[in-house]
């Protein structure tokens, strides 16, 4: 244990130098670090949101809504197909009813026995990814295959992530992280955002927009009373209210005149005449043609602009709108016009998002935590250094060199791996300061014992290291197990703690077994003392 091959010495020294080089960028400001020459490491430790301030949001995609929509669409198709073929039916609907628990099938009862076969053949291949069955009583079931449900959910989350990213990018937040988590969750991290209300508002809307004609042939009052004519639906205004305070009702055609998917641009603007905030938009060619056709056929009739199931505006068509440009005027504030334009540009979410968890830290608290963490680390470090020097003398000083080197190595590893440093992570570093010397303590105590049983200096050091080594490994592996499990099952800041703890264990073993031993052996060889200063 006291002979070092030359290559080993070189490896130890170069690892330490590498550590210093990778830790160095953390001691200059960010700008200087980024402008270091390319051949030098220039990555700084990346601070977690709890230290730099920012907002962490965990969202859940309500993908049940997508399945529900798909089933509703199947119901519509079945209805129109059966009508076309003049097949009599009853009880058409989603099995288990609306919001039924996880229902994935549509049911319909075919009235006449002679229609059973025709209906089955007609509906069997209506929708890909479904399984259709009919029983003797004429009860027909169209069930979505598990694979179809799964595919729809996956595509809903992928699409949601894309839309969330676009919406957040539009707000100008710098370096957001948007990741999928689990089957139906999205983790959003927004550094520097200490008031996420606006972003939460933006993410809280699906922003599905569509244009419908207003049903002027039937009475709105009848519809409010519950008699909604087929082909129409009752919808309420987003901002207008009746004198009674109830939202203003509209009866609109179910058929979509033009869907919001065909929008290619939307911008906040001001109305040329009134100066009120409005949102202007532009359709793609397909949308422009549809909108042009629809408006030219319906001059003088009102149409409704529907956003997330509410009417935001219902203007009367004065002229055919052929250019593909349009303008929405409602009761917008400048901010709400801007937000609506942003939502329309970014596109609609396939399903609503719900915020499951939010953790927001202001920049003040983050900076305070960093400052407190720095002071606690330095004071802790000094206390341990003094204590080690007092107890082990020269050997204590060697251990202290290793301890300081250890700090640099932890910083270097954090910077090079770009692991995130959190507040519990700082706690992990401070704890490492205390525990890192343990390996040295084990060795030094062992050397003392070997001296007491009468070994010479050199032989005592040798025996001390070889006998303590197994203990050191056993003792550290157990803590490493704890750290790895913390990382695997922990979340957020706790993971940050596990990372620094694990890095600290590895670097402290290296410094104790390699660096201190190298120092001790070099000293022994040059001085050849009879007695050890322990």
């Amino acid at each position: 244990m006291i002979y070092f091959a030359r290559w080993k010495i070189l490896t130890i020294i170069s690892l330490c130098l590498l550590g210093l080089a990778f830790a160095a960028p953390n001691f200059v400001d960010r700008h200087t670090a980024e402008n270091l020459p390319d051949w030098l490491p220039h990555k700084q430790v990346s601070l977690g949101l709890d230290l730099q301030g920012g907002s962490h949001l965990l969202l859940e995609v309500q993908s049940d809504a997508v399945i529900q929509e798909h089933l509703e669409a199947i119901v519509d198709t079945v209805r129109s197909e059966l009508r076309k073929q003049r097949i009599r039916y009853r009880a058409l609907g989603i099995n288990g009813g609306l919001n039924g628990d996880g229902s994935v099938s549509v049911g319909v009862a075919i009235t006449n026995l002679e229609d059973h076969e025709t209906a089955y053949e007609l509906l069997r291949n209506l929708e890909p990814g479904t399984d259709t069955e009919i029983d003797e009583s004429g009860q027909l079931t169209i069930e979505l295959l598990d694979q179809t449900v799964q595919d729809r959910r996956i595509s809903a989350i992928q699409q949601s992530i894309e839309i969330v990213r676009r919406r957040i990018d539009e707000t100008g937040v710098r370096e957001p992280t948007i990741q999928r988590q689990g089957d139906d969750r999205i983790l959003v991290q927004l550094p520097g955002v200490d008031d996420p209300e606006r972003i939460k508002d933006l993410l809280g809307q699906t922003a599905k927009m569509s244009f419908h004609l207003v049903d002027t042939e039937n009475s709105v009052d009848d519809a409010v009373a519950g008699r909604v004519p087929p082909g129409s639906k009752l919808m309420y205004s987003a901002d207008e209210v009746l004198p009674s305070g109830e939202p203003f009702p509209y009866l609109i055609k179910k058929r979509v005149m033009v869907s919001g998917e065909t929008l290619v641009d939307a911008q906040p603007s001001q109305d040329g005449r009134t100066g009120e905030p409005v949102v202007t938009f532009r359709f793609d060619t397909r949308g422009a043609k549809k909108f042009g056709d629809a408006t030219s056929k319906n001059i003088g009739r009102p149409f409704a602009i529907v956003l997330d199931g509410r009417v935001i505006s219902a203007p009367v068509i004065r002229d055919a709108i052929l250019g593909g440009f349009g303008q929405i005027s409602g009761t917008f504030s400048f901010q709400s016009a801007q937000d609506l334009a942003l939502l329309l540009r970014a596109g609609a979410l396939p399903a609503p998002l719900v915020i499951l968890e939010e953790r927001t830290v202001g920049p003040g608290l983050g900076a305070d935590s960093v400052a407190a963490g720095k002071i606690a680390s330095i004071v802790g470090l000094l206390a341990v250094i003094i204590f080690m020097a007092a107890t082990y003398g020269l050997f204590g000083l060697m251990a202290n060199v290793a301890l300081i080197m250890n700090m640099f190595l932890i910083l270097a590893a954090l910077s090079a791996l770009q692991a995130t440093l959190t507040l519990p992570g700082i706690a992990g570093i401070v704890l490492t300061i205390g525990m890192a010397v343990d390996a040295n303590v084990l060795v030094f105590e062992r050397i003392r014992e070997e001296v007491r049983v009468g070994r010479t200096a050199m032989s005592a050091v040798d025996a001390g290291y070889s006998r303590a080594l197994k203990t050191i490994i056993d003792a550290n592996v157990t803590t490493l197990i704890a750290a790895i499990l913390l990382y695997t099952f922990g979340s957020g800041p706790v993971r940050g703690f596990a990372v620094t703890l694990a890095i600290g264990i590895v670097t402290s073993m290296f410094t104790a077994i390699m660096l201190v031993r190298l120092l001790a052996v070099s000293w022994l060889r040059s001085r050849k003392p009879d007695q050890l200063p322990l």
Binding site: I355, G434, E449, T479, A482, G490, S491
Partner: protein, 308 residues
Amino acid sequence: MRGIQLIPASIALQFIPKKTLFFGFSILLLLSSIGLYVGKGLNLGIDFKGGILMEIRAESAVDIAEMRRDLGSLGLGEVALQTFGGPTDVLIRIQKQDGDETAQQAAVELVKETLGSSVDYRRTEFVGPKISEELFWDGVLAVGLALTAMLVYIWFRFEWQFGLGAIIALGHDVFATIGVFALMGLEFNLSTVAAVLTIAGYSINDTVVIYDRVRENLRKYKTKPLPELLNDSINQTLSRTVMTSVTTLLALLSLFVLGGPVIADFSFAMIFGVIIGTYSSACLAVPLLLHLKLDRAGLDEEPVEKIA
């Protein structure tokens, strides 16, 4: 430059003869811990209970009573206020709201409207019921797996008696720490789980070091009576045990005093854990070996290594 010997080499404390005293103390400690969970319960933080936590800083010292009245009248259920670090800083805890996740969001906005924009919202955390339940079970899983993994490792490296002794001592430390959290009403949250697992790591680390020495002595002194051998092993490693505890405690004390209020509870848990972990390794884990039918004959296989 020579060091000072903190623990004299000739030390010979009577650990094994006093084992009944230690066992009695530990059983009492565990019983009172269990009594505290059942009677008083743990003060679960929002991580595990769901709800809202806000840390605010006002321009001047906060009148807690007045703020409690203002926020209490919002109909949000239980609202707990506590100054945090200084008179201008307040920690607000609001219970989980009835209804789904949107109801929680609405509560946050209501509080912000009530307190106005003159206060600095230093931290806003909201954990929905779905997540809090997951976090709770993940925590239980992490602690359970960590204990099992450590048990397996010790079993693999030593004999089963050592594994069992270590895990009993470890379980003792974990339960006692949680008991102190119940006793003092400290918030039990995700960081606490991290602290508990670290304590587990520390405790087992400490135990392994002494066990290592026990095993070495068992091979070296084949005829020495077991109680005497165990007692010697503890004393031989006592200096290291104390040294490492002291350095770790120095670092943790610095964190507790200077690290800021956010991690004060976390550091407290670790400080307690280090003390109890040190106690249990020497006074519990080793004496337990006497009662676990240690098979001395089985230890002969591995030869004592030769020292160059």
